[in-house]
């Protein structure tokens, strides 16, 4: 599988296989993720795309029976190396989930600050600045700046999801993983998140799993099509959607299955 080869590479998987016990959910996948790009991972339900994403911040190994073979290189360093602490790693690779998951006992401010506080105490002013920056980048600042001390549950679903983006951004990760971030949002909320992807890729490297093909086409630079755990095709998004090289890809994007 020829990965796109332009720009610097932030993240790379080499023959990555993810297993649950003895069953492989992702098989032998090699992909390059260039810096400051958005890569969409598409495919029918159960094709292993979420599992693949979870291998990139070592969340997969927390699942019952989850383990991997192969390599995942972040800035050239294998994150599955013995010396790598998965907890430290997860601070460099942020993640946003399908459903908004604000911490219900925390205020808006505390939610955003959570990832920073867990990294050690820091001066109040520095924390304030980091929270503001994260909320601005998540395009939420103007809506919540007057109620930072309110419960995060007071926000709408779309706002909660952007709050989760802000929370993921606050520790200044290098890579942002989005696992169907708009699946539970209305069209307006979805649009906001998509716009956000455009703005955020200037700073981060984004990998987004999505069920929504239009979304993948709209926001990504590269698209990877998974089917039954195999990476079927990987390419520039416009090329994959207009001139797919594999028959299965074409069948999927034209809606013949999936």
């Amino acid at each position: 599988m020829a990965p796109p080869a332009d720009g610097r590479v932030r993240l790379e998987t080499q023959r990555l296989t993810a297993l649950y016990g003895r069953r492989a959910a992702v098989k032998d996948v090699s992909i390059l993720f260039p810096t400051h790009t958005v890569t969409a991972v598409i495919g029918p339900s159960g094709c292993g795309k979420s599992t693949f994403l979870r291998c990139l911040n070592r969340m997969h190994e927390l699942a019952e029976g989850g383990w991997v073979t192969g390599k995942v290189l972040l800035d050239g360093e294998d994150i599955y190396d013995r010396d790598v602490d998965p907890i430290q790693l997860r601070r460099r690779v942020g993640m946003v989930f399908q459903r908004p998951t604000p911490f219900p006992t925390m205020t808006i401010y505390d939610n955003v600050a959570a990832g920073l506080r867990v990294n050690g105490r820091r001066p109040r002013a520095q924390l304030d600045a980091a929270v503001e920056t994260a909320l601005r980048r998540a395009a939420l600042w103007d809506e919540v700046k007057d109620r930072l001390r309110h419960s995060a549950l007071a926000l709408s679903g779309g706002q909660q999801q952007r709050l989760c983006v802000a929370r993921a951004l606050a520790p200044e990760p290098e890579v942002l993983l989005l696992d169907e971030p708009t699946a539970s949002l209305d069209p307006t909320g979805t649009q906001r998140i998509e716009e956000l992807c455009h703005e955020l890729k200037a700073r981060y490297t984004i990998v987004i799993v999505t069920h929504n093909l239009q979304q993948a086409a709209r926001i990504s630079d590269y698209t990877a099509f998974f089917y039954l755990g195999d990476l079927i095709e990987l390419g520039r998004t416009e090329q994959l959607f207009t001139k797919p090289s594999k028959e299965q890809t074409e069948a999927y994007i034209t809606g013949r299955f999936g």
Binding site: M59, R90, F97, A114
Partner: protein
């Protein structure tokens, strides 16, 4: 067709009435108990009852201040011992208890939950009172704590399990170590429920008599030293109610009313904690 519909309606009506009647009986028990206690005990509740200690048999007047304070100390100390252990065990079971050890702990907790409280009393007598050589409030607290731990552990476990898995994942993905996820995110989210469980457990043990019989023993004098025998409301009721004097019976009813009131207050408090916490979270 019509006959079938009629039959359904009939069955539906009968069953609804039956279930309604049964729940009425259940509520009736509480109403009768409360009503009876108020009728018999309320007239004896005055300032003296709460502030005075007992007077020698034969004289009228006097109160149960020593038992109220004693109950407070014994139950408070039991909570101090039992709550951390119970909550810790519950957290462990919910977060890490999927293995063999978890199964064993859960099983032991369930058995302990079903153990008659008098057996716990005898146990503590054997292992604490006898070696120490005398009865003490502390031994009573230990007995009550042993009763509390499995109750709290199991409710805590259930409530912690209710916290959505997605919250755990969100914290872990943010670089939270697992123990911090358990404490800062999961336990805090379940806190209102855990507190409610604790209050219910405290209410349950506040009325226990049997485990105190061979441990705290009881004391006719006012005592705040936990190394010595101490009176408790439940012991007081037992002693006064089985005694021969009308004055004692009067005080027993009043004590029972106070104890019942205490339990009710705790139950209401538990409800309130749950409601206000959930209300604030909306």
């Amino acid at each position: 067709m019509n006959a079938r519909r009629l039959r359904r309606r009939l069955v539906n009506g009968t069953m609804t009435a039956l279930v309604g009647a049964l729940s009425f009986v259940a509520v009736l028990a509480l109403v009768l108990i409360l009503g009876h206690l108020v009728a018999k005990g309320a007239s004896s509740l005055d300032w003296n009852f709460f502030t005075k200690n007992p007077v020698p048999t034969g004289e009228t007047g006097g109160g149960v201040a020593h038992a109220i304070v004693g109950s407070g100390i014994i139950v408070g100390l039991a909570a101090l011992i039992g709550l951390p252990i119970g909550i810790g065990t519950g957290l462990y079971l919910a977060e890490y208890g999927s293995g063999r050890l978890g199964w064993v702990v859960r099983f032991v907790a369930d058995v302990l939950n079903g153990t008659p409280s008098i057996v716990v009393g005898i146990f503590v007598w054997t292992w604490l009172v006898r070696p120490m050589g005398h009865f003490s409030a502390f031994a009573g607290s230990v007995a009550l704590a042993i009763l509390m731990v499995p109750m709290i552990a199991r409710t805590t476990e259930e409530l912690v399990r209710l916290v959505p898995h997605s919250l755990r994942e969100a914290a872990l993905a943010l670089g939270y170590p697992r123990w911090r996820t358990s404490l800062r995110i999961v336990a805090r989210t379940a806190l209102a429920g855990i507190l409610t469980g604790c209050l219910v457990a405290v209410a349950r043990i506040a009325g226990e008599t049997a485990p105190l019989l061979f441990t705290a023993l009881g004391n006719v004098n006012f005592n705040t030293h936990i190394g010595e025998p101490m009176e408790a409301l439940s012991l007081q009721i037992f002693q006064y109610a089985t005694g021969p004097f009308d004055e004692w019976h009067r005080l027993a009813w009043a004590s029972a009313l106070v104890l019942m009131g205490l339990v009710l207050v705790l139950a209401i408090l538990a409800r309130w904690v749950l409601r206000s916490r959930h209300g604030a979270a909306r």
